[in-house]
């Protein structure tokens, strides 16, 4: 197997000088390419903070995070932005599509930030929209799409840059069960067919059920780390 994420002894403490809150406490995390992992735990357990740290959106107070061998804690802010653009895909809880752009433009934006040529952008975008089953909705603004459709576009956007892995923060939290199931099917398919690594933070039993590995956080620490049998993917 091929290591994608190697977080070593990372901690993150908020308000260290007033009322310290230890959000992530000496966590070690090791993820291989192609994993389909759920990060679970009660509210306040540090799931989102841990995702932010391994996604390079926040910096740990101690420890190191190696993504494909690069220690992102040593990168400058600008290097980190560039690193995220080329290596990490994000799916947020509340979709976060840009409302003034069409679904297609939302996906294209990331590739244009990468300075991809128009032909490559067009081909990739068309292929992604076919994969998420929204080829006929490409030119709609997000406001014309349902929550589930918006989240599928968000997945397409996360994959547009061909990232090393995709971080999804509670991706199904705002979806009904049908949309959630549909989204999970797509992500599972992409994981299986394109070997894309997915890491979710979630409370959703449906997501946990589909994950092949479940990491449970309690009070900022890894409480358990369980690998599931392959058959759990077959829904």
């Amino acid at each position: 197997m091929d290591t994608v994420i190697d977080a070593h002894d990372i901690s993150r403490i908020f308000n260290p000088e007033t009322i310290p809150v230890i959000a992530v406490n000496h966590v070690h995390l090791h993820l291989e390419r192609g994993e389909f992992t759920a990060l679970v735990g009660p509210s306040g357990s540090g799931k989102t903070t841990l995702l932010n740290l391994i996604g390079g959106l926040d910096r740990p107070d101690s420890g190191s995070i190696l993504i494909d061998g690069v220690d992102i804690t040593r990168l400058s802010p600008n290097q980190l932005i560039n690193f995220r653009l080329r290596n990490i895909g994000f799916v947020f809880q509340s979709f976060n599509l840009i409302p003034v752009l069409t679904a297609k433009e939302n996906v294209e934006l990331i590739m244009q930030l990468q300075h991809k040529n128009k032909k490559e952008v067009d081909e990739r975008v068309r292929s992604l929209f076919e994969q998420i089953g929204l080829a006929d909705k490409m030119n709609e603004r997000p406001s014309k799409l349902s929550g589930g459709q918006q989240q599928r576009v968000a997945v397409a956007r996360a994959l547009a840059s061909k990232p090393k892995f995709v971080l999804a923060d509670e991706p199904t939290a705002n979806l009904d069960s049908k949309s959630a199931s549909n989204l999970l099917d797509i992500m599972a398919l992409l994981n299986q067919e394109e070997n894309i690594t997915f890491i979710f933070s979630t409370h959703d039993a449906r997501v946990i059920e589909r994950a092949r590995r479940v990491i449970t956080l309690v009070d900022g620490q890894v409480h358990s780390d369980t690998a599931r049998v392959e058959t759990s993917m077959q829904h």
Binding site: N52, G55, L57, D58, P77, N78, I81, N82, R84, L85, R86, F90, F92, N96, I98, P99, V100, L101, E105, E108, L109, I110, Q112, L113, Q114, R157, S161
Partner: protein, 404 residues
């Protein structure tokens, strides 16, 4: 994509953006209209100075203007005018005698400047006949005819037919005096000159001054305003012993006014734009605050700081410049209308205007020559206004912004 995103972003809140665009258009309209008014006023003033006061060029004895001594005469009239008629840019000439005098009536006296003129020539050069509002223009047959300005007539209580005595020194420094009768009253847009200058027949003044057919001044009207400097060189070359002066040298206050009013107008536009900049900054700051989460998300996805800065900068510039063509168009149409109809300000500042030599009827002119400066001011406003919101946007930390 950055441009498209910026363009669509400014239309997220249509009312707010339209208000800012309208403010820019209105501010620009106000600024350019002020410039157009000044342009119209100054052009009219320059026209008056050239056509009715000092002509394009004047020739004097080099020392004449020091203290208007009547002894400092120009050379032979016929020879001088004949040589001038050979200069292609010269259109009209007027031969004048000039002296300082005391005008006395039964009730008082006032210092005046007497112009001894040949009415035919003077009508061509300074349109003297057109200025007469009461009585008639000078008649060479009426030896002691006198033309006075309305302001002087009011001050000295003169009417048509009033008798006055003009006292002055002749070329030999002898005090001499002559009795004159008011045959005409003239009025110009320049009240101070109306109060100062009186006109008599050339041969009459020359008799009193004992200067024969001599003269102190030749006023020259050229074919075009643009030929002033080149014509001065030519005429000065023809008469190296005399002093040739342009209208700018004869009326330096007008030249100074043209320059200083331009600068003053730009200051007004800058002040308007500074006021607008606060509105633009406020709007863009609100836009950035409302989109904190979205900007954080864009940064998270990989939009680097220069691109975020550029996005907000482009939005601010668009917000500013969209109002510009509207402002220009409205101003152009308004100025176009008033350049023909004119704006009569006599009811509230007519006296003050003529006190400075300006007409109370203003015909604004679209200030084309000032447009590059106005555009530069608008561009600076947009850039300065964009700076603060853009810096605010790039300081957002993605993790913090996404939590909001």
């Amino acid at each position: 994509m950055n441009f498209i995103l910026a363009w669509r972003n400014i239309w997220r809140n249509k009312v707010r953006s339209l208000l800012i665009m309208s403010s820019v258009a209105l501010g620009l309209f106000a600024g350019i209209f002020v410039l157009a008014l000044y342009e119209g006023m100054l052009r009219a003033r320059v026209r008056t100075v050239i056509d009715r006061e000092v002509a394009h060029l004047q020739i004097h004895h080099p020392r004449f203007k020091d203290d208007y001594d009547p002894a400092f005469l120009l050379g032979d009239r016929d020879s001088l005018l004949q040589r001038l008629s050979g200069v292609p840019s010269v259109r009209f000439t007027a031969w004048r005698s000039v002296t300082q005098a005391m005008l006395s009536t039964a009730t008082g006296s006032a210092g005046v400047q007497i112009f001894g003129v040949l009415p035919g020539e003077e009508n061509q050069v300074s349109r003297l006949g057109d200025k007469v509002v009461e009585g008639i223009n000078l008649d060479p047959a009426k030896r002691n005819a006198l033309l006075v300005g309305r302001k002087l007539a009011e001050k000295m209580k003169l009417k048509l037919g009033s008798k006055v005595v003009l006292t002055f020194t002749d070329r030999d420094q002898n005090i001499t005096a002559g009795a004159f009768r008011v045959t005409g009253i003239y009025k110009t847009d320049n009240t101070p000159l109306d109060e100062l200058q009186v006109y008599v027949n050339h041969h009459t003044l020359n008799e009193y001054l004992a200067i024969g057919h001599g003269g102190h001044e030749v006023a020259i009207i050229l074919n075009s305003d643009k030929e002033v400097e080149s014509a001065k060189q030519v005429v000065q070359g023809l008469f190296p012993g005399q002093k040739v002066m342009t209208w700018k040298e004869n009326s330096p206050e007008t030249d100074y006014m043209v320059t200083s009013v331009d600068q003053f107008s730009y200051i007004i536009i800058v002040i308007i734009m500074i006021a607008l900049a606060f509105g633009i900054i406020n709007t863009m700051l609100m836009a950035v605050l409302e989109r904190t989460h979205e900007i954080g998300m864009l940064t998270a996805l990989g939009m680097n700081r220069p691109k975020v800065f550029n996005l907000i900068l482009t939005e601010t510039i668009l917000l500013t410049v969209v109002g510009v063509p509207v402002g220009f168009l409205v101003t152009w149409l308004t100025v176009g209308h008033f350049s023909k109809a004119g704006i009569d300000i006599s009811s509230f500042s007519g006296a003050a205007m003529s006190g400075f030599g300006f007409s109370s009827m203003i015909y604004p002119e679209f200030p084309w020559r000032s447009i590059p400066v106005v555009m530069a001011i608008v561009a600076c406003t947009a850039l300065v206004s964009a700076l603060f919101p853009s810096l605010r946007a790039i300081k957002l930390q993605p993790a913090d912004a996404l939590r909001l």
